[in-house]
Structures are given as structure tokens and as C-alpha cells.
Symmetry: C2
Subunit: 158 residues, 2 copies
Amino acid sequence: MTNQVFVKMALDAWHSKIKEADSIFNSLTDEQLKNEVASGRNTGIYLLGHLTVTHDLMLPILNFGQQIYQQLTGPYNDNPDAKTYIETASELRQYWKNINSILAENFSKMPAHAWFEKHNSVSAEAFQKELHRNKLNIIISRTNHLSYHNGQIVFLKK
Amino acid sequence: MTNQVFVKMALDAWHSKIKEADSIFNSLTDEQLKNEVASGRNTGIYLLGHLTVTHDLMLPILNFGQQIYQQLTGPYNDNPDAKTYIETASELRQYWKNINSILAENFSKMPAHAWFEKHNSVSAEAFQKELHRNKLNIIISRTNHLSYHNGQIVFLKK
């Protein structure tokens, strides 16, 4: 029972921030996404790609499967300065929608107790001492990451 | 046991984002705080005041006591367009530090089970049906709020 309440709290926050991001992205044209969120800062299209990579990488961390859009990791995460973007805004919008749907589907199938198992970026030894490094903690962390960037992409709105 | 793990997850995220905000604010001069975070958007000093009000209002919501800096609610939350700011950056920095210390002290005294009690912005009737509207949920929500604005104030750094 209590486990279920925890899981609902963390997942509600996740879905709320996904909805906020979708609302912002959907209000922007592809042209607007090419703009910098602030002078000299990342563009909307970069941040859309960056958020997509971050969420895509949750698949292996949470044991849901392999990363789908591996080609995005370099330009939108590891090496942004290279600016080797080849995806269009339209493609990235589709990837973003797809990866969040896959996550939501996997989330809905997880029994509450499974969220408190270790994720794949922590060793079994470390997890024994640090039980908070579980799958649900990844959700809390990535929700905050999304909030951080939502605070930036909102600046693209007129 | 599980309660303690979940409380640690939520509070660790809170403290981590407070640390991030402090690191950004401490790296900025009072002059830099007067700048807009992006063209035509809020200034750093407004956001410092806004975050201070938001955290100050957590005192009554979490049953820790009364709001301390009531004079900030109008200019930094309810009616920002009036731009009736009278506080200096130095004063706001002090209020911000103080309110977060008071919160941290109260957090450290809370037994894990108490985090799952209802907060003061939800009725007893509503809470019976929605047990996730507890005190810890306020932490999760306010941590995301802080992350959102951290993503903005970071733009004041050169």
C-alpha cells in the first residue's frame, strides 16, 4: 500500500512534467525550435534532442530494453559542441513522442515493488549499502532534469 | 524501512537542487542578479525572491510554523508585474539562506512516517481518498519547481 503511494507520487510528477514539456514543444513551430533559448545558449532543437537521448537511455538503465536512437547520443549528449545535428525538428518530435510512449507503457506494467529494485547503473554491492539507488530514484532524478530544461524551452514562446 | 528509503530519495533530490541553486547564486554578483535571465524575462533578483517566497510558504503547508517574510509574497509571487521590489540582493540572499536552513532543520527532525501525513493545503476528506497528497509530495513538487528556475538562473553566469 505505502509502496503504491510512493510510486504514484513519483510517476505523477514525471507525467506532469512530460505534459508540461509537450505543451511547450507543441506550441512552438519548427522555425522557433531553431532559436536559442537565450542569447548564446542551446537551441530548442538541441534541447529536444538532448531530452530525447536522456529518456531513451532510461530504457537500458531501467531494464526495459536497448536504447533506440543511438545516433543521437553523440550530437545531443556527449559531444554537443560538434554540432553535427542531422535530424529535422519533425523527426526529433516523433522520436520524443515515441520514447515517452514506450516509457509510459513500461511504467504502467511495473508492479510497485519492482520500482525499489536496483537499476542497471549501480552494482549489486553498492546497492546493498544504498537501497535508495533504485529504479524509482531514476524517475525522480530525470523528472528534475526535465523540469530544469522546461524552464529554458519555455523562453522560446513569444 | 521502505518509508525511510523513499524519504531519503525525495530529500536527497531536494538538497541536491538547493546546493545547485546556491552554487549558481553564489557565483553571481549583486549586479549580475539585476540582469534578465533571457531577453524580456525575469531578473535574477526576482527569481531569488520568488524562490524564497515559495520555500517560505512551505512552513505553513508542512505545519512547521508561520511564513516569515510575508512582505515578499506580493512582489515576488502574487503580483510580480507591479515590480514593487524594495529588497536588496543582499537581503534576499540572507532570507533565502535562512528559510532553507529552517526547512532543513525541520526536515531532519521529521520521523519517516510523518512525511506521509496530510499537508495543510488539502482537506481531511480529500486526503482520505488521495493519500499521495502528503507532506513528502510537497517536497517532490517544490524540488521540480526549483529545478525549473535553476535552469533559468544558470543563464546569468558568463
